[in-house]
């Protein structure tokens, strides 16, 4: 009963904040609402007994990406003016497309018989995660490092100020 209530509350917060992100006129306020949405998602992860993902959600999305977004907004002065227009001529069409996609996805979620395995959470989940990461998934693990290196080099090349 109580978990369902908390789940309902966090979904309402997440969806409400996400709606506010889209509808808000001030883009910086949108960024702060986005953070609220991230908090809601993190609490849902906790309810799913995936605390590692929940903490990573807060650490990466709120601690780094949200700050990156806010910095990006503050870098571009044009975005800060009050009279930004949020819609263009094709907003009706795209709304139609988005609704269609939502309906299709919803239909898929409800109609497919998902193979759900009921497993208990292991005694020390982080240790199991680490062992899996370095045995079964070792190639993706190393590729992630190369990917991050590429991102780092790219960020430096793009962001560097020309002398």
């Amino acid at each position: 009963m109580v978990p369902v209530l908390i789940f309902g509350l966090s979904s309402v917060v997440t969806l409400g904040a996400a709606l506010a992100v889209v509808t808000n006129k001030n883009i910086l306020h949108s960024a702060f609402y986005l953070i609220l949405a991230f908090v809601g998602v993190a609490s849902i992860y906790v309810l799913l007994e995936a605390p590692f993902i929940a903490v990573v959600q807060v650490l990466v999305y709120i601690g780094a990406i949200a700050i990156l977004i806010v910095f990006a907004i503050m870098l571009t002065r044009r975005l800060l003016s009050k009279d930004l227009i949020q819609r263009n001529a094709q907003w009706g069409l795209s709304a139609l497309g988005a609704t269609g996609l939502f309906l299709v996805l919803g239909w898929i979620v409800y109609s497919v018989n998902w193979p759900v395995k009921l497993l208990t959470v292991p005694e020390d989940p982080i240790s199991v995660l680490g062992q899996e990461l370095l045995s079964t998934y070792v190639v993706p693990f190393e590729i992630a490092s190369v990917l991050l290196l590429a991102a780092l080099v790219g960020a430096i090349l793009i962001g560097r100020e020309r002398e």
Binding site: E49, L59, T76, S145, L148, R160
Partner: protein, 118 residues
């Protein structure tokens, strides 16, 4: 397992409520005498001119980007560090290779001089 998280949930709520109460108390007991002079922006007595929302240096953005990349790296390293006792020796070396690859990125950033304050 979830009882620990119930405690943390309760604690987070308490950690919001107590500072909120502290901030709200002066609303009821402190005087309120607003005036235009008082509510001016504080710039040591000089009137504020021009656009207040100034533009940032792009260097801040690079710091945030580099931070993001190292943040994600450490998230991979925490499970590695926890599992270290149960791993074979070559798995430790795999983790070390992971760190060294990103360390090369840091050296590159230092060589390009983006981390120096200009």
């Amino acid at each position: 397992m979830l009882t620990n998280w119930v405690y943390i949930g309760v604690f987070l709520i308490v950690a919001v409520v107590v500072p909120l109460v502290a901030v709200l108390i002066p609303v009821f007991i402190a005087p309120k005498k607003p005036s235009t002079r008082k509510e001016e922006i504080y710039e040591c007595g000089i009137e504020t001119k021009g656009n207040i929302r100034i533009q940032f240096k792009s260097q801040y953005y690079i710091y945030a980007l580099i931070f993001l990349i190292f943040d994600i790296e450490t998230i991979f390293l925490f499970p590695w560090a926890v599992a270290l006792g149960n791993l074979p020796l070559f798995a430790v070396i795999e983790g070390v290779i992971f760190i060294v690859i990103l360390f090369a990125g840091l050296v590159y950033a230092m060589r390009k001089g983006v981390l120096a304050w200009s």
